[in-house]
Amino acid sequence: MAIDIKNIADLLKKQVSDVKLENQVVDVGEVIFSGDGIIKVKGLKNVKYYEVLAIENGASAIALNLEEEEVGAVVLDDDGSIAQGMQVKTTGKLMSVPVGNALLGRIVDPLGNPLDGKGSIDTDKYREIEVPSASIMDRSPVSQPLQTGLISIDSMIPIGRGQRELIIGDRQTGKTAIAIDTIINQKDKNVICVYVAIGQKSSTVNEVAHKLEAYGALDYSIIVSATAKDSAPLQYIAPYSGCSMAEEFMYNGKDVLIVYDDLSKHAVAYRTLSLLLKRPAGREAYPGDIFYLHSRLLERSVKLCDALGGGSITALPIVETQAGDISAYIPTNVISITDGQIYLETELFNAGTRPAVNVGLSVSRVGGSAQIKAMRSVAGTLRLDLAQYRELAVFTQFGSDLDNVTKAVLTHGEKLTELLKQPQYRPIPVAKQVVMLYVISLPSLLAISKKHVNKYFDEFLKYVEENNPAVYSDIDSTRLLSDENKQWLAQAAESFTKSFLEKI
């Protein structure tokens, strides 16, 4: 193909004539210190918080510490060549990232640069990363469910669109798994997902990307990644960048799910920055404003009112605890900011109860109203049943003489516990969850022992699908489990149980 020189010339001419050349007022300062991704600049009297600074060597920085005589800034693209005495100019721009549809399916760094080798990101829309959250008047109450596809969560710790639900637990308890399963469950549900990886190994982030791709979830997702190898400034801004990308969709009427994995590492990055900026340190050496930082971030997750398009951002921040201690500084902070928490436990995890949710310590403060009626009706007593079971289980470890009522509570509790176990990457649609929870309590199920519960339901759900799929579609469309369908399920369970018992 011949290169059309005239076309290129025209293009260049247009580009040049589009540039607005103005007389500029710039604030010029001088680097007086540079090191560890931080610079201190003398001068810059009129600089703004979060303003982008242009350094003489071509690098850029964000102004974070505004003091009387000097400005502390974090360098975003430090190649080690910043030296004392270099000129630093204000740019008049606040830190922004590219936003919009072009980011879907992509893995980017917190500046919006592609990390996936799939070419440049084609967008001319940008959004500042530090913006105020929607005002109270612009919000509406959380009322629609965001299904995780995990039966233990959707039934007992329901999450609504616009809610902030913390996932908290020690290392390797399945925190990330819950978030990833929730993202996978949004397939064909018109929810955009943003996964922000902060301070993780790049191999872990790659694994997440591969899984999302394998389950067809990458197309509606954005991965924002600042790994452990990246600088503290990049790790620090990652959640704000991700949140701005999410907001762009929310303000266009879309529902968005954002995962911050995790805020413990984010706090550590901020602590590093703050120590370098010589800010006073407080509890656990974290700077005093870390609470404010996280609350401002999570405040940006809201459900907008209809006048503003009704979009939402649901946030799943993740916090890692040490030896289950939720009273440490960052966990208590984030617990108090969020609308509930999903508490994961190593003991449960190791005992094979996965997801390792401690139901007693987990809550959702707004989600109940966002549950569909059918779910509310079958899950109403679930928490209580399980609590009773756990209490009795401890109590009866020592004795063997049990009355029938106690025995019944114990066997039912054991079966429920089995039912709530769920492998990774296998989200269950809410209609099926409702059927499972309804059927497990039927008298005909007494004959099924706990070790067969999972196999039983695998097959029973298929049986319903083959023989009366309307049960599922009715729940989806009416959000109710009708008496008629209940009756059908009870009869089906009875005959199905008979043939199931003959087979095994």
Partner: protein
């Protein structure tokens, strides 16, 4: 007393100096002194430097903006 440096590629006419001084006396608080310097690197136009703040109306500044936007 504050000193404002005024840079231009050629010596400025008295008339231009008066215009500049009238403009900046209003902008800047207190007593001001103007120091004129000839600096060929500005290429054209003028640049007024008030401490760390630079009012850049030079051709060199505009070329720099053009360079940035074509990157």
């Amino acid at each position: 007393m504050k000193t404002l440096r005024v840079l231009s590629s050629k010596p400025l006419a008295q008339e231009s100096k008066e215009k500049i001084e009238n403009l900046f006396i209003k902008k800047v608080e207190g007593q001001v002194e103007f120091v004129y310097e000839v600096d060929a690197s500005v290429i054209g136009g003028i640049k007024v430097i008030d401490g760390s703040i630079v009012y850049d109306g030079t051709l060199a500044g505009k070329l720099e903006q053009l360079k940035q936007s074509l990157r």
